[in-house]
Symmetry: C2
Subunit: 335 residues, 2 copies
DNA sequence: CTGAAAGCGCTTACAG
DNA sequence: CTGAAAGCGCTTACAG
């Protein structure tokens, strides 16, 4: 005996009405008389009918899904963002699809921007080639990172200003030789943050020599390597404080410095970026820039839904405020 | 001028063949002659045709998606697992949908087990009511957690044995009064881990009094509260070592103990569970049980795909090995 | 308020 | 090797 799932037709037959009527009873109840509605619902109960969403979606020319393009799913940085996205998509009746862009070709964005694949796109990766999103493609919102020139809404923080705040904190503590560990090359966040450092130092009339810039890639290990470089520099000319473009790097930096018997903040003050999970619990607790990750996710999803409803303009930036969290990894310059 | 996307029919018209032929040229190239194939591909180029996946999926009675049901997306514990899942689903041509089960009703599992919604389910949450997955529902694989009695494949570690290993390590260090901070009540992991503690202590002929059991819920804050309790207990009878059912709790526990001027492992040895990101970098670096999270995700996805291909049995457990990582938060009992 | 029929964009037995 | 036609399971103008 086959376990065929009941279809609209089966319900209609049992209720003694047409499939059109059953369909209406379900999606537009007040288009049908009360009696008919009751009969239909009885038949649904009796058959155990559940709607085939794929068929409805095909008919409606939508998929019911939004995809989030994530640079690296394994990076816990994104869990709060995804959680924020899911918290608005779920109640709105959309499915959240996630795709990891690691090692993906440049076509990935276009593949996912197919209306038959998803109704909209949230792009968390700024390293896509600048593609012209042709008409007939799906609405896109960029979150955190962005593709320069891509005409799509952005939800983000002011990375340049945030870096300025971090450096300002170190200046306030009396530091005059300030170093910076960057993110990966060719990354918009990297550019914005180093720009903020440069601006703030220039404003203070301080130099920003090449020796004070350490190339990183956001990873813990690259922070460790930056510390290795810093350790080899002459004690009386190397930075007395370092601002790193991610908390993970700050974590690696601190570990390496300590491994060599030096102290944070005794020998060097350290500021991170992101305020990731548990970073308040390392030793010393890390001073960092807090990014409202869940909020970024929520707003990105909301802007996308607004576009799908035709309510919102397709571009323009939403800038969220950051917060400097002063913890124990920074201290006044020892004289 | 409308920007209608070209359909199969448009390609067929341009190539001078039927839609059936275009369809075959695409999905079964060697069913068509070389000339026809060339004509079809030329027409595809000319029109910029891209297949409508939703229509193909409806026809094929599949959705092309697998959903992962996650207890709490914001918890970075799951990022590695999702990454593992995505790494096998992507290449296999499936979309990964994620849903957060926080605050969801008991029907969620059944809702997602609809064949029109997804082709399969990976359940990471053991707190669903035991439902009979009726025939006509989609294949399910459980990962990490599991619903007792649910007849679905499981990919997990041996939590009971792992807890035994953690306790064994503390016994080896000479500890005789060993405490345990549990996970949330009514959770399969909580039961399995406390069971492992009880077994191992019994095996060593040691007591496991109620005062040595602290109720937690996996969260950092509950670890902090457990430390609060521990601190109020008499110094000469309270545990000299504590095994906590999650790293987050261990982190909170250590922080609170240190805040009261005591030292880890000087005054109390601490073992965590999970080996989450950065936990090797707190002070002191945490001794913990490493769970192969990415591997769990990969294998769960692979078992599900095998079931979809009809290759694998629908139940049976896959047990992955864990590893005790000894770091600085545990030390021999001071006499 | 309700039904017959066309259609969303594909695929696939069935003939030829 | 190729085409005409039916069908995946819904929805929705169009009539009545």
């Amino acid at each position: 005996m086959k376990h065929d799932r009941p279809k609209l037709r089966d319900v209609a037959r049992l209720a003694g009405v047409s499939t059109a009527t059953v369909s209406r009873a379900l999606s537009n109840p007040d288009m049908v008389s009360e009696d008919t509605r009751a009969a239909v619902h009885a038949a649904i109960e009796a058959t155990g009918y559940r709607m085939n969403l794929a068929a409805r979606n095909l008919r409606h020319q939508r998929t019911g899904g939004i995809v989030a393009l994530v640079p690296n799913l394994a990076n816990p940085f994104f869990s709060q963002i995804l959680s924020g996205i899911a918290s608005v998509l779920g109640p709105a009746g959309y499915n959240l699809l996630v795709a990891d862009t690691t090692g993906a070709g440049p076509d990935l964005l276009l593949d996912y921007a197919e209306p038959s694949r998803a109704d909209g796109l949230i792009v968390l990766d700024g390293n896509f080639p600048m593609v012209a999103l042709e008409p007939g493609r799906v609405p896109v919102v960029q979150a955190c990172e962005w593709v320069p020139g891509l005409p799509a809404a952005r939800v983000k923080i002011d990375n340049r200003a945030a870096a300025g705040v971090a450096v300002g904190h170190l200046l306030d503590l009396g530091h005059r030789r300030i170093g910076h560990v960057t993110g990966p090359a060719n990354n918009v966040l990297t550019e914005a943050r180093i720009g903020g450092v440069r601006d703030r130092l220039a404003e203070a009339g301080l130099p920003f020599p090449d020796e004070a810039v350490y190339q990183g890639d956001f990873s813990l290990d690259s922070g460790r390597q930056a510390a290795g470089q810093w350790l080899t520099q002459p004690r009386d000319s190397r930075p007395t404080a370092v601002f790193l473009a991610s908390d993970a790097m700050a974590c690696g930096f601190i570990g390496e410095v300590q491994r060599h018997g030096l102290s944070v903040p005794g020998d060097v003050s350290v500021v991170g970026f992101d305020d990731i999970e548990l970073i308040a619990h390392i030793a010393p607790p890390l001073t960092t820039i807090h990014q409202p990750r869940a909020e970024i996710g929520r707003l990105a999803a909301e802007r996308l839904l607004a576009q799908l409803r035709g309510e919102s303009q397709a571009d323009g930036d939403t800038i969220l405020p950051v917060e400097l969290l002063i913890r124990a990894s920074t201290a006044p310059l020892a004289i």
